[in-house]
């Protein structure tokens, strides 16, 4: 356990030791901030218009009209950023040969993979924590449902943890970070839009595709509804890719 935490800590520090980590963090805060400002003022306008319209008065609320779409946008931003954060996890170690330190140390491949993954999740937590002030602003301006806010954070974290797991596997297949970036971004995009195929796929297949897609499992969570099947989906998705990475790292020793 100590070794896993040491590896995780090193990975997390690494993000802050390179421009890439800071660029992603600053970019994330800036872009989400921009979206938050834009969407908040947009919502304020709609709400004030609705105040004079008895028909839509009951419909509009901060949870469904502001929080859910905002986190939807945040997920898309993370879809773009996570491959850039996960690409170095193994590719960099192999390129600069520091992998030899890990391989010759008394740590198992599973410990290496878990340590690196936890390090990446740690950075994710830092990124999401950097958006916490938006919820304070919302509390100051209106009355958002804390439960819905929390479940949106959970959904975004789980979603991004999936992105990182896919990116980590891609990174374990190459010593070229750019290749890892492109492969993981392509793969994530495919998984993301799979639910859109629902419309064109023959019946039956459409629902299967939608079930595999990450997007369709996000819906209930953004409404504040914690369904076991969604949580299980995300956790098993992560588990699968972490396991695959573990197998991949183990295979290095036997190639």
């Amino acid at each position: 356990m100590r070794a896993i935490l040491a590896i995780a800590r090193r990975e997390l520090d690494q993000y802050f030791a390179t421009p890439m980590g800071w660029l992603c963090l600053c970019g994330f805060v800036l872009v989400t901030g921009f979206f938050f400002a834009l969407m908040t003022s947009d919502y304020a306008m709609q709400a004030s218009q609705a105040a004079f319209d008895p028909y839509s008065q009951g419909q509009i609320n901060v949870n469904d009209w502001l929080i859910a779409p905002f986190f939807g946008n945040t997920a898309v931003i993370l879809l773009l950023l996570c491959p850039a954060l996960s690409m170095r996890l193994f590719a960099e170690d192999r390129r600069q040969r520091s992998m030899e330190l890990l391989l010759s140390s008394p740590v198992s491949s599973a410990q290496i993979v878990l340590g690196k993954y936890l390090g990446a999740l740690g950075f994710l937590v830092v990124m999401l924590a950097a958006t916490l002030h938006y919820s304070f602003i919302l509390h100051w301006l209106g009355r958002p449902d804390p439960g819905i806010l929390a479940s949106n954070y959970l959904a975004t974290f789980l979603m991004a943890a999936c992105f990182m797991a896919v990116g980590m596997l891609a990174s374990a297949f190459t010593d070229n970070q750019i290749v890892a970036l492109v492969v993981s971004f392509g793969g994530l995009l495919a998984l993301w839009v799979l639910s859109w195929a629902d419309a064109i796929a023959p019946s039956g297949w459409g629902t299967v595709l939608a079930d595999i897609s990450m997007l369709s499992h996000l819906e209930q969570l953004t409404k504040g509804l914690l369904h076991l099947q969604d949580i299980v989906y995300y956790l098993s998705f992560i588990g699968f890719f972490v396991f695959a990475t573990w197998q991949r790292v183990e295979a290095w020793r036997w190639q």
């Binding site: 030899e100 010759s104 020793r253």
Partner: protein, 318 residues
């Protein structure tokens, strides 16, 4: 301490190591020699548990590297050819990290000791990326030493260093090799092996072609005689001496012999040559000549081809 039995490693279709065996005793310093691609690095990586062997096994103190990788790795320090450093970390952070993942009880104290040992104290707060190659090599050594291993495996520890840095590292190695520590050291630089190792294992094309003490390898091998009355009779008499494997008369009247390494054989050769008027007995290859002869293959004519091949020492393996 280290025992390697029938080790084989195949990468794709390429057989990098072809069933080698050797042993290294406790406290021994052994040089692993061989041209590029001889399989030295692969052998070292298997011994350290970085990669698995296709066949055969490596044992450290009786423990199989594959069956008990963690137990073995706790006792082995490995410095790869390229120091496995994280360029963005400081020296101190890096060595502490290495100490932690090597399961040292008190990583900070262990890191301090290792840093002091390899002479990194004045740069301990600097980022590794900003260090010279010599210092990076020391950082790599600190990482290999931090858990105070019984076995040190060093892959070309002085490659790419300037002569002054090379001397420094060599001094350090000699210091580290003192005591009970077992060291395997691979290198291209033969004087370096002679400076620190007692014994060498020479590899070529994935096989061990010789392993013996350096002095035995050097004294074994070639002897050249000059006698007053050369000829078939003299050659016949020399050929009859036990331990002589090859006798070849030269047009200038000298006789080249290939013998085993023992001094007894040498004395017997001298005695056999006396009746023919022994004028001169020279010989003994230096390590370089032994190395070049054993690792020649496919790259132009061997300058010492007239000596033939094989039969260099008692422990030569085909």
């Amino acid at each position: 301490m280290i025992r390697v039995e029938g080790l084989q490693k195949v990468y794709g279709g390429f057989e990098a190591v072809r069933g080698i065996s050797f042993e290294v005793g406790r406290g021994e310093v052994v040089g692993l020699l061989g041209p590029n691609g001889a399989g030295k690095t692969t052998t070292m990586r298997i011994v350290c548990g970085c990669i698995g062997a296709t066949a055969g096994r490596a044992l450290i103190d009786g423990r199989d590297v594959l069956e008990d990788p963690r137990g073995v790795k706790r006792r082995v320090g490995y410095l790869p050819e390229v120091p496995p450093v994280y360029p963005t970390m400081t020296v101190e952070d890096y060595v502490r990290f290495a100490a932690t993942i090597k399961e040292v009880d008190d990583p900070e104290a262990a890191a301090d000791r290792a840093i002091g040992r390899v002479g990194l104290a004045e740069v301990r707060h600097r980022v590794i990326d900003h260090l010279s190659k010599g210092y990076r090599q020391r950082v790599g050594l600190a990482q290999a030493l931090v858990h105070d291993p019984d076995v040190l495996v060093l892959d070309e520890p002085t490659s790419g260093l300037d002569p002054a840095q090379r001397v420094e590292i060599r001094e350090l190695l000699r210091d580290l090799a003192a005591g009970e520590r077992t060291v395997i050291l691979s290198t291209h630089i033969l004087p370096e092996v002679e400076a620190v190792a007692e014994r060498v294992i020479i590899m070529h094309q994935g096989r061990v072609v010789a392993q013996d003490r350096i002095d035995a390898l050097e004294s074994g091998g070639a002897v050249r005689l000059r006698v007053a009355r050369p000829g078939p009779e003299a050659e016949q008499a020399l050929r009859a001496v036990p331990g002589v494997s090859e006798v070849e008369g030269r047009p200038d009247g000298r006789i080249d012999l290939r013998i085993d390494g023992s001094d007894d054989t040498r004395a017997a050769v001298a005695a056999a040559a006396v009746p023919f008027g022994l004028l001169e007995l020279t010989g003994g290859d230096n390590l370089e000549a032994v190395y070049l002869r054993l690792t020649a293959g496919g790259e132009g004519p061997d300058p010492r081809e007239n000596f033939g091949r094989g039969g260099v020492s008692s422990t030569v393996e085909a």
